[in-house]
Symmetry: C2
Subunit: 211 residues, 2 copies
């Protein structure tokens, strides 16, 4: 088993953090996305979309998409559960995880990819070819990240973790989204978001956050 990985990018970090929470490790190959190493023909032959992370199973099957890789690990090693334990908790965690991704991570990605000079012709990730950055989309992304912080702060007034009282994959996606939003997309968490800060400090202190 081999993880195609990129240190510094938010989606690969989601998988590494998920693996660390479960104590899973495997062979790892690093790619520099800014340098375009994920578009190398040898990698595209294995994973045509050129997206990272991707997981190669021992039979040669290559799976891309963060959540699909996490699903594989959740099924092969259920403990500790990170995606719920019964129909209702599985649905709630899936919903909250998606909210973190769509409202947080995708907004930050819009902000970063459409403003970073190195991606001026790479407005979308992977092997889609030349895609012009759209400055208005970077602005929209930044505004949506700010909204995401405010909403998550309100929600965390009523729960320890993003999807309730238990740590889950929704917290992993939220943390990786926020660190990416604050770093690459340059939208800091507001000081006023006290609930968010309490949660952020707690989740950042988990050993898996260093993965």
């Amino acid at each position: 088993m081999k993880l195609y990985d990129s240190q510094g990018a938010p989606n690969p970090r989601r998988v590494r953090m998920f693996m660390a929470e479960k104590g899973i490790s495997c062979e790892n190959q690093q790619f520099n996305i800014v340098k375009g190493e994920n578009l190398d023909p040898a990698f595209l032959a294995k994973s045509p979309r050129g997206m990272l992370p991707a997981l190669e199973l021992d039979d040669g099957t290559v799976i891309d998409e963060t959540i699909a890789i996490c699903r594989y690990f959740e099924e092969t090693q259920p403990e500790p559960p990170l995606m719920g334990t019964d129909p209702k908790s599985k649905a709630i965690i899936t919903s909250r995880e998606r909210q973190m991704e769509f409202d947080g991570l995708l907004s930050a990605a819009d902000a970063f990819r459409n403003s970073f000079p190195g991606f001026a012709k790479r407005g979308l990730g992977g092997s889609v070819g030349s895609v012009e950055a759209i400055p208005a989309l970077a602005e929209r992304g930044k505004a949506m990240v700010s909204r995401f912080y405010e909403n998550l702060d309100k929600q965390l007034a009523n729960s320890t973790y993003v999807a309730g009282d238990e740590f889950s994959i929704a917290d992993i996606t939220a943390l990786c989204s926020i660190d990416f939003a604050q770093g690459a997309a340059r939208v800091p968490m507001p000081e006023s978001c006290k609930n968010l800060r309490r949660w952020y400090d707690a989740v950042s202190a988990r050993p898996s956050a260093k993965a």
Copy 2:
């Protein structure tokens, strides 16, 4: 149990089709998204993001996000399985389903929401407030839909269904994406995509496609 639904919108159709494949039915409330009925305060009190579909369980829990609702039904009624039966098939179906959503449905949504006059100030779905449409994003979306058709056509040269030899949720997302892309986003499937057409005709003929 009650489904908050919108006839004509692609994400609610994904859930209705998933339910039809499993023979599940429940109470249904319709919303006209173009008229902004999903932004009515009574609905936002239940589901703050204002996104459709949403599922209200008998205990009052409201779950939004299509894939979270499908996860609930897959867990409560596993037959027929639509999200895989073992770790590898679950991961592959999740991956392919995500590819259909990200490469197909989100591209079509970018094309539609940023060109439809009724959404000139509603460039994003749900309760995000006023968001200006971005014409360049509509153009990017159309180009990405065309690319999606070509890629899926190539993939379907080697498999009966989107994620292999079995019908799955990946086919549901693909069909709903394509019908939305051809209709609302006005990007027709190319005549040259013979494999795609073969698959499209077969999946469109399933009774669930009328849901």
